[in-house]
């Protein structure tokens, strides 16, 4: 067998290479290929888990809440109240799980980022390709959750459809800064801390299960700065059909700021890590 002959004519299209980030689609394609091999495991965490929360807390615990002396939360059944919260929290959860261990792996274990960097792809292509994949994942789990939740009666307003893009934005607002954080870690030990002291407290106290007005007064401002609270609030306002344009725009701008600053930090972190 002779060595492979060079193909007739160049099969490479370098013309698009000049624009930074312009080749992100090629990096995205890698993550999709990789996901085709591993999607089964993610069905449990991304799709089944939020439905379990909705079932156990929304319908199970919720039946007690709805009968409680204080009356309904926000004037709706507890399942309807909690569903958009679970939607936003699941978007956060998915985004963070896709930007912790996989990022560490792409730097230290399978080192896919380095493989990409040896090709026409640059740091920005690598970053945007990965973030694009994460957003697609969040879109998938969010759309599925809203669809199934609507069938179960947990989403009642047609506006709930708009909660899906908000969940995707919530994913970006978490994925980008967490990717920046992950790219700077030397080992995966910090991820446990991130989950324990970042994710879980946000999940429990940033409005997923009860209004933050129930928190002690000193903690309410803390909850308000978390991106999850903004995402939860907007998802809930859309889902209950109570959204006001001005407040809605405020939430979107706040989440977008996290996404944008996070992306900038992630680009810096990846450049620091990969280009030496």
């Amino acid at each position: 067998m002779p060595a492979p002959a060079p193909a007739a004519g160049r099969t490479i299209s370098p013309s698009r290479a000049a624009r930074p980030g312009g080749l992100a689609g090629r990096a995205l394609e890698f993550w999709l290929t990789s996901y085709r091999r591993t999607w089964r495991g993610s069905v449990v965490s991304g799709f089944a888990a939020p439905l379990l929360y909705l079932g156990a807390l929304g319908f199970g615990l919720g039946s007690l809440v709805d009968q409680g002396g204080a009356g309904r939360v926000a004037g709706v059944s507890y399942a309807v109240y909690v569903a958009p919260g679970v939607l936003a929290a699941n978007a956060m959860q998915t985004a963070v799980s896709e930007t912790t261990y996989p990022v560490m792996g792409a730097i230290k274990w399978n080192r896919q980022y380095y493989a990409m960097l040896a090709t026409p792809l640059g740091v920005l292509d690598i970053l945007l390709g990965h973030l694009g994949f994460v957003l697609l994942r969040v879109l998938g789990v969010s759309a599925a959750f809203v669809a199934v939740g609507a069938l179960l009666g947990a989403f009642t307003s047609p506006w709930a459809v708009l909660a899906v893009p908000v969940a995707v934005l919530c994913g970006g607002a978490h994925a980008a800064p967490v990717l920046a954080f992950s790219a700077r870690q030397e080992s995966d030990s910090a991820f446990a801390m991130l989950f324990r002291f970042g994710l879980i407290p946000m999940f429990l106290f940033a409005g997923t299960f009860f209004p933050i007005s129930q928190l002690p007064a000193v903690l309410q401002p803390v909850a308000r700065v978390t991106p999850l609270w903004h995402a939860t609030s907007l998802c809930r306002e859309l889902s209950l059909g109570t959204a006001s344009p001005l407040v809605g725009i405020g939430h979107v701008v706040y989440l977008s700021a996290w996404f944008a600053v996070g992306t900038w930090l992630a680009a810096r972190a990846l450049r620091w890590r990969l280009v030496k």
Binding site: M1, P2, A3, P4, A5, P6, A7, R10, T11, I12, S13, P14, R16, A17, A18, L23, R26, A27, E29, F30, T33, S34, R37, T38, N110, R111, Q112, Y114, A115, M116, L117, A118, T119, P120, L121, G122, L274, V275, K276
Partner: protein, 330 residues
Amino acid sequence: MSRDHQGAVEAAEIQAGGPAAGGSPALIRCRALTKRFGDLVAVDGIDVDVRRGEAFGFLGPNGAGKSSTMRMIGCVSPPTSGELSILGMDPRVDGSLIRARLGVVPQRDTLDEELTVAENLIVYGRYFGMSRAAVRAKAAELLEFAQLSERADSKVEPLSGGMKRRLTIARALVNDPEILLLDEPTTGLDPQARHLLWDRLFRLKRQGVTLVLTTHYMDEAEQLCDRLVVMDGGRIVAAGSPRSLIEQYSSREVLELRFPEDDHARYAGRIDGLAQRVEALPDRLLLYVEDGEAAAEAVHARGLRPLSVLARRSTLEDVFLRLTGRSLVD
């Protein structure tokens, strides 16, 4: 022109960065190329020209600056100072365009172990913007070349080290690169795997692919390289063809004498005048001579009775150890 003279001229041209011979412009051109990491100077102002179609080697002990140089040439590590031009372009401006025409075999494999052998090739080809059809056809061809066709659909993780290395090389060829950069391509492989890899690299070279490799295996350098530079402490300490380096820095042959004692330095005085140079190692004496057999007879005539006598040709390893020393570098 004497052989020595010729070697010296060649080396001088390389060191001075004279125009590449044959009139063809250098594919890779470094002038005073420098890479610093904080206070550490990894590459200290090197001048190199690599011409189209040749196999060029960077030799040196660990930490000599070989990999840093390769990463700069691979356009993934910006030079601290100096001039670097690859395929006539500046990596600082056109890194992506240059990388589109390079093949890179990194020191540590960057294969995706979760994907199959074929998927690794296809994913990689897509990074270069190849169409799905083109990359599939190319992958089949490359798997054949790397003798991995039977494993096309198995995951990478269980493959042997040699197979993974062959896959990495096949992957680096997916874009029909004009220059193939190989950073320690055969480190850690068994002899069979190494010879198979060398055979594949020879074929590529015959097709006109320019090979640039680093190695600390001298037999690999002698086998593969038309020209090479020896690096030590970030600098180039010698340059030339393997043959000319041996002529310049070693003798034609080496006589190895082993005596039944620990202190071989003691014998060094008793063979005075028999060799151009004598090196006393803890376990043997090395005599750098033109004619090993004759020197062995002369040793015998002086009444010395070594345990073992080995006359062999000088190798690049002799040159390497002379230039970079025998002490361990970590």
